[in-house]
Amino acid sequence: MKFLESLVAKMYITLIHSTKGFLVYAELRKNFKVIKRYEAQSITELEMLAKVVKKLERESSISYIALLETQAEQGFLPTCQAIEGVDLSSVEKVCVDQKWGFYISKDVLHDRQKSLKKVGLDFIFSPFTMMHQFHGESLQNDDGLAVLITPTLVLCSVYKEGVVIFAKETLMQEELLLVDPQVIVQKYVEVLQKSVQSFYDTKIDDAMFIEKVFIADGVGFESSFENQLEEELFVEVTKQSIDLSHELCILSEMELT
């Protein structure tokens, strides 16, 4: 069956929470190569979402549907080992490099699968995975703050010696609906400032001072955002645009290997 599957081009359909519903995107892929891209669509109603997904599913005999979960809160685990006094039976845990991890409530997962039952889900990825996929390599030998910005969430993680030692996620429901772009930028800068402050407040590593910020921008900010951030936080900012939907397709394909 695996052999047969390897011969077939698979359809990867991705769902990303947007401010008013979901952003649906799909790629037909085979052996880590994109055969065809399908234009992203913003859909607000679940009925319509199910209809669009079913239509995309008909493009291939095998299709996988992945969701980037950016609306439910997820926790950060500084270790992959069992933590004394902490019961993790009610959460679903994912480990990264056997060094650190993250988790989500099983109830939340159940609710999400239930609400998207008509659509059907094969993967639910955490922004932590997305962030590590994007920044992981560059932060193996470079300490700093890694940031992932999606339309509904900002995830900040502090990397030290290739391992996340602190993480904070902030849900952004209405900020992108603001009319004035400058105000939007200011809101996001404030979120990052608060995250950095939280890191310092936790005193996880007193000796560490954040000098570099690596931003994966999934929203599409202009360079004024970088400039403002550098001025406010006194840090060196490296901002790269991230195609969240495309990255989600890659994650889905990697998950099958």
């Binding site: 005999s61 996988y64 998950e255």
Partner: protein, 167 residues
């Protein structure tokens, strides 16, 4: 390393439509094979029957030829029998006629006809009467006729050879 919170659902490489198509093709293939086997069997039976009929026809022709040959042989035999019968009748008549030619003065002791040669022995009272009567008859009937006489008491013994050759 697993990164998704959930496991993917099980996938079927072959969709239901394709599955039905393959099953239909399979059934069609089986039906075609069965039909082919059935047709081959029917054809084989027909061929066997045709071969049997051809064999019978050949045998009948052989019997017919044998019968025709037998009929031909019977025809030849019949003709031969008729020829022999005719010859015998003619010979009988000739012999009868021949003996009618023998005059009273000539007494035949033996007469042997072998092929076209007649050998006669006998006796006569007078050579003159023999030559004037019986020898003349022989000369008219045969191509060559020669008589040798020997004087005996009371007459002459004679020995005649007459040959009926082609003229």
């Amino acid at each position: 390393m697993r990164q998704s919170f959930i496991e993917p659902r099980k996938k079927k490489v072959i969709g239901s439509e394709l599955k039905w198509l393959l099953v239909s093709m399979g059934v069609l293939f089986v039906l075609m094979v069965l039909a082919s086997v059935l047709l081959n069997s029917v054809i084989a039976n027909k061929e066997a029957r045709i071969n049997t009929i051809l064999l019978k026809e050949k045998r009948l022709k052989e019997v017919q030829t044998e019968h025709l040959e037998e009929i031909e042989r019977f025809k030849v035999l019949k003709k031969l029998r008729e020829d022999i019968s005719t010859n015998n009748r003619l010979k009988k008549e000739n012999v009868k006629n021949f003996f009618d030619l023998v005059p009273d003065e000539v007494v035949l002791k033996s007469a042997k006809l072998r092929g076209t040669t007649l050998r006669l022995t006998g006796m006569t009272l007078s050579k003159r009467i023999y030559n004037k009567t019986f020898q003349r008859s022989l000369n008219s009937l045969f191509t060559h006729s020669t008589t040798h006489f020997k004087k005996i008491e009371g007459g002459y013994a004679f020995r005649n050879i007459s040959v009926m050759g082609e003229k």
